[in-house]
């Protein structure tokens, strides 16, 4: 408390002066000058005193840096006087930070770097707290080696309270996505909102299209094609990322690959379902020619040990070139170019257990390229200038072969034009609007071709300034990014046997272009012995959707972060103490399914003469092309995050706590509209009196009137015009809308207890308390399925309108407390590290909700078969109650403009118009069980992991892991339903699985 009092006293005295100074710095009116010095010296490997060429020595607070030359020498000029933090890092070495008070040039500095291995006294195999103002967690290579990832998403387990990935192989068509701020299955498209970058290359799912155009595909990018062997570090930003990062609402994942000189590293990994071989090398090209990194990765994962045929393969080759030019005059320029190719994917073609010649193949071929250059200008008006460009190409062509057979003609509708069409045999008319596939056996080979392309270019400038102890870093940047899909869409190998299909090529849709401009300022204000850091940034995205009715759309995302360092490395019980605050908005651009009016078709059967003795049937359909309805009011999905984080070191015990709230507004979702449609139906009934023998009939249908005529091939009988029945149906069409807001709250904690030296063991306790609530309140129309008829034999004619949609629940909440207890024993002499981790769920509660405007929606039913409200109960959350939901109102085909309040009419009809009551009852939605709205608490459960890494000299290391090694077969109790379930093979913990890796360094 005294600290705060001191702070405010001091602030009062200097308040006016400082505020003026801050303001002046922010707007750049004052060109603050101070004495400047240089630091020069050598970077050496502590083990053999050899130079560490290319080591990066930096003064991060001033944006200054240099690369060591072949002799390990470096020089950084123009460093403002005062306290200076100096860092040195390089691939394969431990990053070191030093602090100096600079009042003259510092020369002859020897920086000794330690090779990153288990002989060191400090080794991190857990997630480290990131150093930026945005809350993030960093997993470096040592941690990743010990974790032994099957897929890069496995690193999520190292987040506070994170859980081990349950996937034990990759041989599935299911995707592996990051879940950072929000879990899969929640509202607000939380996985879609995660930004994933590899060396700055954004992996985007925005252009991916689904085979079924009527469904939405707003979820995150698949990460299976990312080689796990070439990753140097993964940083997961759970807080507010810098404005440099756009198109993100639910967390950022930054993956960095290996760059720098390294020996040959051969990595062999095995686990029952997956084998991996990887070879990497960082080549010093000598002279001033830079460094070339190469990485080869072969991974094969099978789905079934007993039948090792269906697999997922990764064949990855990466190359990265890195060099620094212009080192001598203190204005170095780094240049980096990386390229990665992967050929692989899922394939079940060799599986003998499948029906002969049936299979699924799903390509996961990738080409990623990136270049970046950074120039330390170190001028009075600019410090660094960075330019970068990236390209990501992902071939996700799927091929599925299905065995088909039919005892009669199968209609395959090909027409895209409005009107009535009759079927024809392919041999008679290959371009017929409806092709009749003859009876028999055939294979249908279906392709869905998605070729995702994303590329971008960035230009960014930094301007660092320092006056006295006040430092300022202004960043200005712009980004141009393009995403598109160059795939052919859906097609078939043999058009003769293609089912109902219309060509819709994804490559004919425009690419989406996004222009972004951003500015961010970081100000460090020393106040007494404390430091206040402020970051304010704003980003503007201007999205140009050429060819879409959405046209040009712009959005703003302001972000603010503040960090108050009360003290650091102080000689007291609490040696470090700082507090961070963050507030900001992030925006997620929509996927192509939202933007483009994907054509869909409604085909209504209008003529179905009886199947002939030879199995021929001549179908006719009315085809109506439709496009998804344009919504001029559609807004881009955004998220506002508020966060506070506290970091302390109490007597050697490190404590990091964050509390954050995320509110996702305007999430992308869709609703259905219904419009009535009237048509003519001709059936066998209308044909029964035909005098023309069926074998001699030629059917024609008037495209506009739907009237069917029958002509005699032989001419023996006159042409007949068939009678028909007038029918109606409702056509549905989807429209993308913005759903209701979703809120998430999260408290995370990480406690690293002081090392127990006697046991050479550290204990980490991390966890999170997470709450989620999503309620959809949008008014939505609903009709029963089109085959729901009325008692009079006619199609259903009422449309119900439900606030929040026609589901018993229009939302859900969940709360959970997950904790991990990790004991890490590290014996440097033995070059051994052993970790035992208990993953615990202490609280897991979820509940379905039915609410609108804060009030209960729905009624309690006395039993499952009731339709009218209980006279005894009204609270749907009262426990063990069946719940019904009435529409707010309904309309009838008789007059679609008259909105009839449902409840009133329905209850009246019960006693006065039973026929209407029976029909309206079809609109009533009911909960399936009487525990549907119960609070569903899952009893506590646990899983334990064990992992060991042992280095054998400097040239080999061996890791072993066993997840859920106690093979927990306990039971969990689901309080909501009163049921128990075994943890064996459950969705709660991973199954017992194990594996080992061997790394050889030559």
């Amino acid at each position: 408390m005294s600290v705060f009092i001191n702070f405010f006293d001091e602030t009062k005295r200097t308040e006016k002066k400082r505020l003026l100074l801050v303001f002046a710095v922010l707007i750049g009116f004052v060109n603050i000058a101070s004495a400047q010095f240089s630091i020069s010296g050598k970077v050496l490997n502590r083990r053999n005193q050899e130079p560490v060429e290319f080591a990066i020595v930096a003064v991060p607070n001033n944006g200054l840096w240099a690369n060591a030359n072949a002799k390990g020498e470096f020089i950084i000029k123009n460093i403002p006087a005062g306290k200076v933090k100096l860092s040195v890092q390089y691939l394969g070495f431990v990053k070191r930070e030093y602090e100096y008070t600079l009042d003259k040039n510092l020369t002859g500095l020897i920086l000794l770097m330690d090779e990153d291995n288990l002989t060191l006294s400090q080794v991190e195999i857990t997630a480290k707290k990131g150093t930026d103002l945005a809350t993030s967690f960093l997993m470096d290579r040592t941690a990743l080696d010990h974790l032994q990832m099957l897929n890069v998403t496995d690193v999520s387990a190292l987040l506070p309270g994170g859980k081990t990935n349950r996937s034990i192989h990759l041989a599935t068509t299911a995707e592996q996505r990051f879940e950072i701020n929000g879990a899969n299955g929640e509202r607000g498209n939380p996985t879609f909102g995660v930004g994933v970058e590899i060396d700055g290359v954004r992996l985007s799912n925005n252009g991916l299209r689904d085979q079924s155009a009527s469904t939405t595909r707003v979820h995150g990018v698949d990460t299976k094609n990312i080689s796990t062997s070439n990753i140097e570090s993964v940083e997961i930003v759970t807080g507010l990322p810098s404005v440099e990062f756009g198109d993100v609402t639910n967390g950022m994942v930054k993956i960095n690959t290996r760059k720098g000189i390294s020996p040959y590293i051969l990595e062999l990994s095995t686990r029952p379902n997956t084998k991996q071989v990887a070879l990497s090398k960082g080549l010093n090209l000598g002279g001033n020619n830079g460094v070339l990194n190469l990485n080869l990765d072969y991974t094969r994962s099978i789905s079934n040990l007993a039948s090792p045929f269906t697999d997922y393969k990764r064949n990855s080759l990466s190359a990265n070139y890195n060099n620094t030019f212009n080192k001598k005059n203190g204005s170095p320029i780094t240049f980096n170019f990386g390229i990665t190719g992967n050929i692989g994917g899922y394939n079940s073609e060799a599986d003998p257990d499948l029906f002969v010649n049936t299979y699924t193949k799903l390509n996961d071929n990738v080409l990623r390229a990136n270049f970046s250059t950074k120039w330390l200008l170190n001028k009075s008006w600019i410090t660094n200038l960075e330019a970068s460009g990236t390209l990501n190409y992902n071939d996700k062509l799927s091929e599925t072969s299905n065995n088909k057979s039919a005892p009669a003609s199968t209609p395959s509708i090909r027409t895209s034009t409005n009107g009535y069409h009759v079927g024809e045999i392919y041999e008679n008319n290959a371009n017929a609007p409806i092709i009749l596939i003859p009876p028999g056996y055939w294979y249908e080979i279906n392709y869905v071709d998605n070729k995702l392309i994303n590329y971008n270019g960035k230009l960014k400038a930094n301007w660092f300034k320092q006056y006295s102890n006040l430092s300022n870093n202004l960043m200005l940047g712009s980004e141009f990014s393009v995403s598109g899909n160059n795939g052919k869409g859906v097609y078939y190998d043999d058009i003769r046997y293609a089912p109902t299909w219309r060509e819709y090529r994804y490559d004919q849709e425009s690419f989406v272009k996004n222009y972004a401009f951003y500015a961010e300022d970081l100000l460090s204000i020393p106040i007494n012995h404390t430091i206040l850091q402020l970051v304010a940034g704003i980003r503007s995205d201007i999205t140009d959707i050429n060819g879409s009715e959405y046209g040009l759309v712009s959005s703003w995302s302001p972000r603010l972060n503040a960090k108050y360092i009360l003290w650091e490395k102080a000689n007291k019980v609490v040696s470090d103490f700082n507090v961070k605050l963050g507030w900001g908005k992030t925006v997620k651009l929509p996927g192509f399914d939202v933007l483009f009016a994907t054509p869909t078709f409604r085909d209504i059967l209008t003529f179905a003469p009886g199947t002939t003795a030879s199995g021929e049937t001549f179908y006719a359909y009315y085809t109506m092309p439709r496009t998804r309805i344009f919504n001029p009011d559609l807004k881009w999905q955004s998220n506002v995050q508020k966060e506070i984080a506290i970091n302390m070191n109490i007597a050697g015990n490190k404590l990091f706590i964050t509390a954050s709230q995320d509110k996702t507004s305007n999430p992308y979702t869709y609703q259905t509209d219904y419009t009535p449609f009237f048509y003519k139906l001709t059936s066998q009934v209308n044909l029964e009196q035909s005098a023309i023998p069926s074998v001699n009939r030629i059917y024609t249908i008037n495209k506009y009137t739907g009237i069917v005529t029958v002509t005699d091939k032989t001419g023996a009988f006159p042409t007949e015009t068939l009678s028909y029945a007038d029918m109606y149906t409702f056509l549905s069409n989807t429209k993308y809308i913005n759903g209701s807001a979703v809120t998430r709250n999260r408290i995370t904690w990480t406690v690293d207890f002081k090392k127990i030296e006697a046991l050479k063991t550290t204990i980490r306790v991390d966890g999170n308390y997470y709450t989620y609530k999503g309620i959809e309140e949008t008014l939505s129309a609903y009709m029963p399925n089109s085959t729901q008829m009325m008692a009079n034999g006619k199609p259903y004619k009422y449309i119900g309108f439900f606030g929040g949609g026609a589901n018993s629940a229009n939302g859900e909440m969940s709360r959970s407390v997950d904790m991990n207890f990790t004991a890490i024993t590290h014996i440097p002499k033995l070059r051994l590290i052993l970790s035992a981790r208990l993953e615990a769920s202490f609280y897991k509660l979820s509940r379905n909700l039915s609410e609108i405007n804060g009030k209960q929606r729905g009624i309690v039913l006395d039993n499952r078969d009731a339709y009218t409200p209980s006279t005894q109960q009204t609270d749907i959350y009262g426990g063990d109650r069946f719940v019904g939901l009435y529409p707010d109102y309904y309309v009838s085909l008789d007059d679609l403009n008259v909105k009839i309040p449902f409840a009133e009419k329905f209850l009246w009809a019960k006693d006065n118009d039973v026929a209407l009551y029976n029909e309206l009852a079809k609109l009533v939605q009911k909960s399936n069980t009487n525990y549907y709205f119960n609070s569903s608490r899952v009893s506590n459960y646990y899983s334990a992991n064990l992992a060991v890494t042992k280095e054998i000299g400097r040239f080999a290391s061996l890791s072993f892991f066993a997840n859920n090694f106690l093979n927990n077969l306990g039971k969990v109790y689901y309080r909501g339903s009163g049921t128990q379930a075994s943890l064996f093979n459950s969705s709660l913990i991973p199954v017992f699985n194990y594996g080992a890796s061997l790394r050889l360094k030559i």
Binding site: P407, L605, A608, G610, T787, R864, D865, N918, N928
Partner: protein, 437 residues
């Protein structure tokens, strides 16, 4: 002989070694049949009572007091009995079934299991055959859409099918692990209310259909066309005399309901009232419970649309069909599956017939040998040495040994067995009776 002796010795060794680990206790069990108080008939001797355990079954006949006495090992048993008798010119059937009877340690020989029998009359129209398990395709797959049912007039007077409805009991599969209609007491919740759940939809005839004595009608339950064009082991249902459950407005699943064969008159299409969901009528292809009923004082359409008759369990919406409306039914179990559970009440079907899908097998009614032979001039037209039983694959056969189809072709009049107990009344036929190739 020597081999037999060795085998016996080995068997004894196995038994002795088993005995060392586990002692199987045998209990004395008495079952008392209880006839309805309103019935004019009461207990009698020689009624067969059956105890069916997990993998074993025992039979004993009643004494004059209506008691049957067993000595059985520890197990959970189903107790069942069927008594078919005549009185004053009417044929009566008494069926009783009691499930989950635990004969375990602590069972006292003094305990008497009371088996309440329910009285029912024999039917005029019976389900002669139900074919729904699918046919092996000419490649390696199975064709599942050639289902049909044959309804047969088993009486001596013409039968009107006006108002007759087809129904499938919910849940559709007997082997469903958790049939929510079972209460905590191990009984079907509708047992005391005397109704049966007709799941999803019912089918009814567009016009009155008269079936003469000894005649039948065939109703295609899926593709009503010549399925043999593509599937040579299937059946041709494109026949002017046949009927079809074909109502595309309500059920439009393309593979199940291809356009009906042109030979079937459109007034032979049965119509449906659908109150559940789904694009095809959900008759199980493994273990259906199929029944036919006549709505009383209402119409099929009115009954099917009456939401007050709704009964719902998770995944199934049904209408409550009073058991007094039910004309006939057949309960089937999936062979070699331990999860089968009764869905029919004893008054409708006290037993079950095992079924195996995917092989072209059919559920076929047994011949009432005594009644059939009693018809004058019939015996010499009967064809014996029935070849279509499935005992070799664990199924069943017609105990009469009479080949009903061959006998009918030979001019015989067949009276089928109708005890409202499928265990007695049906067998698993190795091929559909309509199959011709």
């Amino acid at each position: 002989m020597k081999k037999i002796a060795y085998l016996m010795l080995f068997t004894m060794l196995v038994f002795l070694s088993c005995k060392k680990d586990k002692t199987v206790k045998v209990h004395s069990v008495t079952v008392q049949l209880a006839y309805p108080a309103t019935s004019s008939l009461t207990v009698t001797a020689d009624v067969v009572v059956k105890l069916t355990g997990k993998g074993t079954s025992f039979e004993a006949k009643t004494n004059v007091e209506g008691k049957a006495i067993f000595n059985v090992p520890t197990d959970i048993y189903e107790v069942s009995a069927t008594d078919s008798r005549s009185n004053s010119g009417s044929a009566f059937i008494y069926n009783g079934v009691k499930s989950n009877v635990a004969i375990v340690d602590g069972w006292s020989a003094d305990n008497v299991i009371k088996l309440d029998l329910i009285e029912s009359k024999t039917s005029q129209i019976v389900i002669k055959e139900l074919f729904m398990g699918g046919t092996p395709a000419d490649d390696t797959g199975v064709f599942n859409y050639d289902r049909y049912v044959v309804l047969y007039n088993n009486s001596n007077t013409a039968a009107n099918l006006d108002n007759l409805c087809l129904a499938t009991v919910a849940p559709y599969n007997a082997q469903l692990t958790n049939n929510a209609y079972y209460g905590a007491d191990g009984k079907l919740t509708y047992e005391n209310e005397n109704w049966m759940p007709a799941g999803q939809a019912i089918w009814y005839f567009q016009k009155n259909v008269v079936v003469e004595p000894g005649k039948q009608i065939v109703i295609a339950l899926a593709n009503s066309l010549n399925n043999t064009i593509t599937y040579s082991k299937s059946v041709n249902l494109n026949n002017a005399a046949y009927y079809a459950t074909y109502d595309l407005a309500s059920f439009d699943h393309a593979a199940t309901y291809r356009v009906a064969g042109e030979n079937i008159p459109t007034d032979h299409y049965l119509k449906t009232v659908k109150y559940g969901t789904g694009a095809a009528w959900a008759l199980s292809n493994t273990s259906p419970g199929f029944f036919i009923f006549n709505p009383q004082n209402t119409t099929p359409v009115a009954f099917g649309n009456d939401v007050s008759q709704t009964s719902t369990i998770t995944g199934y919406v049904s209408r409550k069909v009073p058991t007094s409306w039910i004309v006939d039914g057949v309960e089937s179990y999936l062979l070699n599956n331990s999860n089968n559970k009764k869905r029919f009440l004893p008054s409708v079907d006290a037993g079950y017939v095992y079924h195996v899908n995917g092989n072209g097998y059919s559920l076929y009614r047994n011949v009432d040998e005594q009644a059939t032979k009693a018809i004058a001039g019939n015996e010499q037209k009967l064809v014996h040495n029935y070849q279509f039983g499935t005992t070799a694959v664990g199924g069943t056969t017609d105990p009469s040994g009479i080949d009903a189809e061959a006998s009918i072709r030979n001019g015989a009049r067949i009276i089928y067995k109708d005890t409202n107990n499928s265990t007695n009344d049906f067998h698993l036929r190795s091929r559909a009776s309509l199959r011709t190739n």
